[in-house]
């Protein structure tokens, strides 16, 4: 059977507009998130930055360009400008006791940022502000991998987490094309079909890489002019030529920035309720709050480490660092997935279809051995008709998808001849069967979010003294965070 994402794509195709793939908000984008548009240079690796536009989404953005980033001094000047703007973002986060949030266009932009970070963070041959910039970018780059993180908004990823189009996932990586499915962009012909608008949008680059024809037609002649001007040594011409290079770069940056602002508007205007924490109805924080709290904690911990003489920013993880990191990521993913299946109706629907969540209509309820002492468990037999392929097995624990997410331990499952199933469950305390009366439809999920699991997993690794494992290679890294 096609899954729900495929169904949503079909709907999007039929309706010629985006369709929701979630019924709750997974990412809260701040009004003042740092919008960062990047321009690299074709053929150059090592995170060369030719120009950028940066600034808060709700404020003024600055554009800076250098004529030739292959020259170390001019490249360093650009780093300084970016460092200054990032510093403002960082400071605001510290003052507000939250975390800095950055918005980039797509995975290519994030990869480019990663290269810049790697080039700068431990580099003793760059100015101090550039090195600090590298460390701060490294923070973002590291956070981007963590499931549920809120610091790095990769626009295409964030949009796809909430919406789907009638295109392929690969095509959705083009931010301009994706946004056309949300609404026609400025300058699009009024009578153009959606596909025509997508094709027009795809003619513009949306990340650090430029189109070859733009390089051929505009940038390379400007660069040649600048090189010649430097050879001739005329300061007026050098200045003019430098300005011409900037002018060649600015249209693409403006376009990228406009797309980012549009993406920001879409993400902040989704109108979805925040992902709840169904398992803890008495806690005023919902799941999205917890994700944001985790972000704030991670940021403050990182800043505290930054003050140490040796900052353990990891590049290529050694065995120990990798084990810690994977434990953190897996725990974060498990908690987020559990919260999503519990709290997002569409995700629950998908889980029922996949058999990882259960849905049943209750036909009969028999209460056995009601618990009447503290700590005891009561036993209930439910006769249900199950929807979906999932079947509970003896020994498993499921949770009712209702506020509190009460655990149900399955003692036995007996299929009936009539297609129904008898499930014997034990539940803590005196069982309240009002939610399971005959005729009720109940959903059961496997997991509830454990927001502390990551901390405990790291604690176990420390307790196990993983760094001293006799199985590790002789020269092993000792970084353990």
């Amino acid at each position: 059977m096609p899954d729900l994402v495929t169904a949503a794509r079909v709907l999007a195709h039929e309706r010629q507009t985006v369709v929701d793939v979630t019924t709750t908000l997974r990412l809260k984008v701040a009004p003042h998130a740092l919008i960062l548009s990047l321009a690299g240079m074709a053929g150059e690796h090592d995170g060369v930055l030719h120009a950028f536009t940066a600034g808060p989404a709700d404020g003024t953005r600055e554009t800076h360009a250098v004529p030739d980033p292959r020259d170390r001094d001019t490249q360093a000047a650009l780093w300084s400008e970016l460092a200054r703007i990032v510093d403002r973002t960082w400071q605001r986060a510290l003052d507000d006791r939250t975390f800095p949030q950055v918005l980039v266009s797509g995975t290519a932009a994030l990869d480019h940022l990663t290269q810049v970070a790697e080039r700068l963070r431990n580099n003793t041959r760059v100015p101090d502000d550039a090195r600090l910039l590298g460390q701060r970018l490294s923070y973002w780059v590291d956070r981007a991998d963590v499931p549920g993180q809120q610091s790095v908004v990769v626009a295409t990823t964030a949009l796809r987490e909430h919406l789907v189009t009638g295109m392929s996932p690969g095509e959705e990586e083009h931010l301009g094309a994706f946004l056309e499915w949300c609404a026609p962009g400025p300058g699009m012909p009024a009578d153009a079909s959606l596909l025509e608008r997508v094709e027009l949008a795809e003619r513009h680059a949306t990340g650090p890489a430029r189109r070859p024809e733009d390089d051929r037609g505009v940038l390379v002649p400007a660069l040649d002019r600048y090189s010649l001007a430097q050879l001739l040594g005329d300061p007026v011409e050098i200045l003019a030529a430098a300005e011409a290079v900037g002018a060649a770069l600015r249209p693409a940056l403006r376009h990228q920035t406009r797309l980012l602002r549009d993406a920001h508007a879409v993400l902040t205007g989704l109108g979805l309720p925040e992902l709840p924490d169904v398992a803890r109805p008495d806690d005023p924080r919902n799941a999205l709050d917890r994700l944001r709290d985790a972000e704030t904690n991670a940021f403050s911990t990182w800043c505290a480490y930054l003050d140490r003489p040796v900052h353990p920013i990891s590049g290529l993880d050694g065995n120990v660092a990798a084990a810690y990191r994977l434990a953190r990521h897996e725990s974060a993913n498990a908690a987020l997935s559990a919260a999503v299946v519990l709290g997002d109706p569409l995700a629950r629907e998908a889980a029922v279809l996949a058999g990882t969540a259960l849905r049943g209509r209750v036909l009969r309820v028999t209460q056995r051995a009601p618990a009447d002492r503290p700590g005891a468990w009561s036993r209930t037999v439910l006769q249900v008709t199950l929807t979906g392929p999932g079947v509970p097995r003896a020994g498993q624990t499921w949770h009712l998808a209702a506020p509190g997410a009460a655990p149900w331990r399955v003692d036995a499952t007996t299929p009936g001849q009539d297609g129904t199933v008898k499930i014997t469950v034990s539940r803590p305390g005196r069982a309240d069967t009002t939610g399971c009366a005959p005729g009720a439809t109940i959903d059961l999920v496997r997991d509830v979010p454990d927001w502390d699991a990551a901390r405990r997993a790291a604690g176990r690794l420390r307790e196990r003294d993983a760094a001293r494992s006799p199985w590790l290679p002789a020269r092993t890294d000792r970084s353990s965070t």
């Binding site: 495929t6 369709v19 019924t23 053929g43 690969g170 998908a350 279809l353």
Partner: protein, 357 residues
Amino acid sequence: MADKSTAGPGAFLRGALPFTPAGAAGLFAAAELQDCAAHVLMTMAQVAPADVASTALGEKVNQGQSPLALGRGNAFERQLTRGVPSRLGVALGHNGLGTDLFVDVTRRVPMPPSGHGREEALRRREQATLDVLADGGAATVWQGALTVTLGKVAFRVQPDLIIRDDTGRLRVGEVKSWADNGPRTSGRALSSALGQVAVGDLALRQAGHVTVPEAVLVLARPRSSDASVRVQATGREKALIDDAARAFPQVASDALRRLPPGSTLDQSDTVRALPTAYGDLCRLRCALADWCRRRAVERGDPAVLGDAAAGDLEPGALLRGPNARPPLLQAAVDAHLRATGLTTAPTQAAEGDPTRA
């Protein structure tokens, strides 16, 4: 400069299109797209899909690399082979691939300054390459030339490196100026490089040599002027290009049989008559992608939703529209609507949908 020669068995199909045989990268792209009879036929007719797109279909096609990237690539290659020992030699030596004999075929057979005589020069380069490989002993051939044949159609390829080890087995290598960024290295760029190697490997096998299905990749080392050498297995790419070598002649013949006599690939009717197979790879590999996507949309081909979604749907599923969806798809749509509270259509409630007011 467009070569309107009548070379090759596909000449009758070209019409006004220039003779532009695929190189190693183009051949591997065609192998990846071997489900698409149109692309296979263009390859075997030795025309560039970009020329077909622009001439026959009126598509606006922008091809080619940025001059900055080209310049960087050329500079990287020059740096690699400069000096004694060269950076390339040192890098290969560190990886156990160094040989005492290093033959630069471009020096033995320089290319003429103008296009005239190019074909003869390539033929002589190929002979020089084969001569070096025929001698015993370990050797490295830099920028040689080989011929790979698909059916009766010959294509010339120019691998950057051919390394023969002490046992006489050969490995093909490619030099790329993009950086060795480990796991973050572009999978797409890597795939293309490995594919080019696989094509060179096929050419060597067709010439009777014993090869090792491994690519020697010479890449830029980040934040350094040194080279990074990686040896990578090419099992996947070898299997694909071997499949293509077996299948292309038949696929091309079958496609030709659909065409009326006298058809040429510069005519839109001809191209429209050819079967195509739109998929995720097309946008990365073929200049007709936009045109094929439009066609797939018109035909209700689920491929427009992506390969993964298309795998869950029947062919033509999108043509039926919201009122006649296949049952399994309808069930999935119903589940989606149930959860999101949407209607079946923007303006009307779904029949029996209790969630919509």
